[in-house]
């Protein structure tokens, strides 16, 4: 299936009924701009339990080799769930 190029789409080529005719397009919708606070990780305190990774509603906690390495700020909406769930208070929400 060819990739649907919605970014450059012309009105005449819109699929009927405002259907988005392919999956996985949410990744292209950058919701980071909604944020007023962003998460900052204290690696000294972090025990890599990955609660933040499991709870993040936007899949914005980046994990490599079982360790939290940072946050995807293009999609993180700054909700603070990661900081709330962290058992070691290793995540702090700081103003933008």
């Amino acid at each position: 299936m060819t990739k649907w190029n919605y970014k450059g789409i012309k009105a005449k080529d819109l699929p009927k009924g405002a259907v988005i005719p392919e999956g996985g397009t949410a990744a292209d919708y950058e919701t980071g701009g909604w944020r007023t606070k962003h998460p900052v990780l204290d690696k000294e305190k972090c025990i890599n339990c990955l609660f933040c990774y499991a709870f993040c509603p936007d899949s914005s906690v980046i994990v490599e080799n079982g360790k939290v390495v940072g946050f995807d700020l293009k999609h993180c909406k700054g909700c603070g769930i990661c900081a709330f769930e962290c058992p070691k208070d290793a995540i702090n929400m700081e103003d933008e």
């Binding site: 009105a11 009927k16 009924g17 405002a18 988005i20 999956g23």
Partner: protein, 394 residues
């Protein structure tokens, strides 16, 4: 072989549904439509059809079920009346905006208050600008024929819009009439297999329905395309009608012209009243008076140009509305016709009658009153009362 039966309008619609055998029916009972769903529930219970019959807890849910089922890729139907249609209001717009070819039967009934279960067209008229295609039927045969054709109109690739077919509550829905029913396999062949473009249940090709369009999106363009699609339904309805005529021997136009060729005065009416008006026309014709009748069939999209053409040259015409118009401009059909005439620069002295609200009997004498009035207008060229009533109690 087609079979002829003596059945009510409601059973005729249930028969049309059974012949089409949709994948899903999402429905809630309401008088005077209930018999349709009761009959269909029986077909399901007896294993005569493979339809998924979903009994909802309200019409709001019934239409939501239809929206979901149609997006999933199912051929979907429902039916309702009056308050039921009113309760579907927000989903009607969603069904049209998502371009879902849902087919619904609306058995015309008045809207509360006061509570009244009998016929008028106010329920349908409340949905006339919801983006649905609307088709009026005069009798049980037309209800059956229109409902089958509605499937093809709705699912036509140039259209892809929901269709509402109407008949008069009780007057037609509960009256036994002669109805010619087609062979079910022929109906199935006529409607064909439904192949949706983006079925939600196709897991190999994931799609999103009903997403947020955003401030910088294409909402405006989608609405323009929806408008164009609705206009295309006019020609498509006629293509489908021609094909259906080959199958049934009954051909339907955008509207029916009864003794209009040399008519000098005419009435425009929708629903069962057209049947009464035809007998009145016949009487006038026997007396040498050139009366005619135009019966509304396709109401949305409104065939404005064709209507103007049919009316032009008349000395006077009366438009009968079986629903109240709460502004000074008259009932909805009258406003449509008056606008169409004005836009085309055609002038026909026009009178509007509001009649038959809440199931008030429509008598031959009422129709005669309208003809007498327009015959007088034809003579004098003067319209005394633009909007008037027929059959109002003193």
């Amino acid at each position: 072989m087609a079979r002829v039966e003596a059945i009510t309008g409601n059973v005729a619609v249930a028969e049309a549904m059974r012949a089409v055998e949709p994948d899903v029916i999402g429905v809630y009972p309401i008088t005077p439509q209930t018999i349709i769903v009761e009959a269909y529930a029986e077909y399901v219970a007896q294993g005569e059809v493979g339809t998924e019959f979903v009994a909802a807890e309200s019409e709001h849910s019934a239409m939501s079920i239809c929206v979901g089922a149609a997006a999933a890729g199912a051929r979907t139907m429902t039916c309702t009346s009056s308050q039921g249609l009113a309760l579907m209001w927000e989903e009607l717009y969603i069904a049209a905006g998502l371009r879902l070819p849902i087919v619904m039967f609306d058995v015309n009934r008045s809207l509360s208050a006061p509570i009244n279960i009998h016929c008028d067209h106010s329920d349908t008229m409340g949905a006339r600008d919801s983006g649905w295609i609307q088709i009026f039927s005069e009798n049980a045969q037309e209800a059956y024929d229109n409902f089958i054709q509605a499937v093809r109109i709705a699912e036509h690739p140039d259209v892809m819009l929901p269709v509402m077919v109407m008949m008069d509550g009780f007057v037609i829905s509960h009256s036994i009439q002669r109805v010619e029913l087609l062979d079910e396999d022929k109906v199935k062949k006529f409607v064909g297999e439904w192949k949706p473009d983006y079925p939600l249940l196709d897991a190999d090709h994931p799609v999103t329905w009903g997403s947020f369009d955003g401030l910088g999106g294409f909402y405006f363009e989608y609405k323009k395309e929806q408008y164009d699609a609705l206009q295309r339904a006019k020609d498509v309805s006629q293509e489908v009608a021609k094909e259906y005529a080959k199958l049934s021997g009954r051909e339907y136009g955008l509207f029916e012209k009864y003794k209009m060729d040399d008519a000098e005065v005419a009435i425009v009416a929708a629903g069962s009243t057209a049947g009464t008006a035809k007998t009145v026309v016949d009487t006038y014709r026997q007396n040498g008076i050139k009366a005619g009748l135009i019966k509304i069939r396709l109401y949305r999209p409104f065939p404005a140009e064709e209507m103007v053409e049919a009316l032009s040259g008349l000395k006077a015409a009366a438009v009968l509305d079986r629903s109240p118009g709460y502004d000074v401009l008259g009932g909805p059909i009258f406003q449509d016709i008056q606008s169409a005439l004005y836009q085309s620069g055609t002038s026909v002295p026009l009178v509007n009658y509001i009649y038959g609200l809440g199931g008030r009997d429509v008598l031959v004498s009422h129709i005669e009153k309208a003809y007498e009035d327009i015959l007088n207008v034809a003579k004098t060229g003067k319209v005394d009362k633009k909007v008037d009533y027929l059959g109002l109690k003193e």
